[in-house]
Amino acid sequence: MTASAPERTSTSRATGAAFIFKKALISALVALVLFSLMIGIRTEAGPTGQLIYWTRFGDLASMVAIVFGGSIVVELLRQWWGAAGTTIRVIPPPVQTTLAVAGRLVAPALLIFALLVPVIFYHQRYILDLGILVLTYVMLGWGLNIVVGLAGLLDLGYVAFYSVGAYSYALLSTNFDLSFWVCLPLAGILAAFWGVLLGFPVLRLRGDYLAIVTLAFGEIIRLVIINWQSLTGGPNGISGIPRPTFFGIPLTASDNGLAAKLGIPFSPTHRIVFLFYLILALALLTNWVTIRLRRLPIGRAWEALREDEVACRALGINTTTTKLTAFATGAMFGGFAGAFFATRQGFISPESFTFQESALVLAIVVLGGMGSQLGVALAALAMIGGFELFRGLEQFRMLVFGLAMVLLMIWRPRGLIGHRAPTVFLKQSQAISSDLVKEGHG
């Protein structure tokens, strides 16, 4: 959202007070109808089972008043900034250039901050844990971004690949004693395999239909996990999943632990810090691979597929394999994240892999601006971190969350960072030579 208050130039728009007032009045009326039963009357079952009810007209009145006032404020703000896409924003050029400079600095600043988090907050376990959680979602968001943001395939069952990764690691490590570093690629490969398996039947579908099938797929995986008790332990989950080692050196207080080898006193925080850097590295790997792929023909084909499938086919793109690679690549990173989740928790159960997780990751991608790497990272930070921030508000948390989403979609319908950086660059706008083509080829 635009933080700087833009100067209002002389507006020629004749949207008078009467219009705003009328709009607010309609909103208030709708609110009155909606809330009259929801808030105005409170019902409860009495001690003998009879219905007791009493009225709360005061609350109702204040609620309607809030809606009335809020709708005026929203409308005013809307005219002030102008809804994106409908009017031209009036931001003075100096502010624009400052914003552009600041915009360029956000990504490196965020990266440096992320690298320094364990140093700054070494003694605050809570913040470290939160950081790990945020980074897990950043990684999931970046993974799903390949499927949804780049290839434009709406996937509502991304959690399936996350759970495949988590269970792959959990089962391989508890049953076969394989180390985390062996299991990590295996988890990714297995998740990618499931991605391809899902991809085959659904590739003919588009849009809503695809979304429904992927949603079902996510549920199927979860139900299989719950019911295949002999393998997965069913609802009881799998416990005692080995902790990751520092390339074979355990992070424990024992004599052959990392702390002892380095000759420093053991602290349980070491493991947390290690996990933090591990997920940071995994997330950055996801980001790096995505950025590289976008500059190659395959990444370009993904984006073209999102834009126009028919045109893609006419240009000789095999849309089937292109979709499959997008699905598999996205799934693979989901699998990596799942394996990390399993090793971090030490215990997994189907409860961690509900549809809500898919929805959350998808919300991060959409809020961040489909296809934007930085946007996804910011959205994950805002959603997961922000969610924690409002923990004190208890059940109002969801309300704040919903409100924030509505506001964001009004002002930034394409997400936090809605523009898309081109991957073929021009060195000089004048000379078009073979340089350009080479650039384009990455």
Partner: protein, 248 residues
């Protein structure tokens, strides 16, 4: 291909295609010789676009045969046909709106096996043909004007160094002056590079003046064929497609 006599590059025999029960092509015969511009004209719903799409594999041909350079391509998948270097600028242009002009052009070359040098010369060729695109390279495709989008669609098709270029209504929705530029560019391509072109048009006057040969399509059948000038003189063509459509 090397046969000196007229061995057609594209040879269509008895082609039938249908959407469900509605038969759109009822046995079409058509030849395109190497180095030729062939115009296909006809009213709305005559099956012109369907013919072009059937050559590209979608909808599938129900009967008949399509041979490209002596090879039967009738049952092939669209992307495989495109890889034989048959390029098309589809109806409605269908450029990639959120991708830059440069990226759009690269997409044209991506699927065909194409070296870096080929890409460079291909790009050079496109920008000399359409200097306007050169100025627009970094801009998003969707922000171009209609004429520029058409240039981009043709440019993108040219990036695969096609042996046959198929254009579906290139003048659709364009100002007469812009349409003329597009037609001029097609003529240049044909004269300089010997590019074989199939052009589907409603604008019969323009198309027949440009083309060496033309076919007239009515209700899924070819009813007339001949050289462009011959067709322009035919009274039935004049009455059906040219009267009132003539702007000089």
């Amino acid at each position: 291909m090397t046969a000196p006599s007229v061995k057609p590059l594209l040879e269509i025999r008895g082609l039938r295609a249908a959407y469900g029960k509605i038969e759109a092509l009822k046995g079409v015969d058509l030849d395109i010789n190497p180095g030729e511009i062939v115009a296909l004209i006809g009213a709305n719903g005559a099956g012109k676009s369907t013919l072009m799409m059937t050559i590209f594999g979608r909808p599938r041909a129900r009967a008949g045969q399509i041979r490209f350079d002596g090879r039967d391509i009738t049952g092939m998948a669209t992307h495989e046909i495109a890889r034989l270097r048959i390029a098309q600028s589809p109806e409605g242009r269908r450029i990639f709106p959120r991708m830059s002009v440069a990226e759009n052009l690269q997409m044209g070359a991506d699927a065909t096996e194409c070296s870096e040098a080929d890409r460079a010369t291909g790009l050079e060729r496109v920008v000399t043909l359409f200097p306007r695109l050169k100025e627009r390279m970094a801009q998003r495709g969707g922000t171009l004007s209609g004429g520029e989008q058409q240039m981009l669609a043709i440019g993108r098709a040219l990036m695969s160094r096609p042996r046959l270029l198929m254009l579906d209504e290139p003048s659709l929705g364009l100002a007469p002056l812009v349409a003329r530029q597009i037609f001029d560019a097609i003529r240049t391509l044909n004269r300089q590079d010997g590019l074989t072109v199939l052009i589907v048009e409603q604008n019969a006057n323009h198309a027949l003046k440009l083309a060496h040969r033309g076919y007239v399509m009515v209700n899924g059948l070819i009813t007339l064929s001949g050289t462009g000038n011959e067709l322009l003189q035919r009274p039935e063509v004049r009455s059906a497609y040219l009267e009132g459509g003539r702007r000089g």
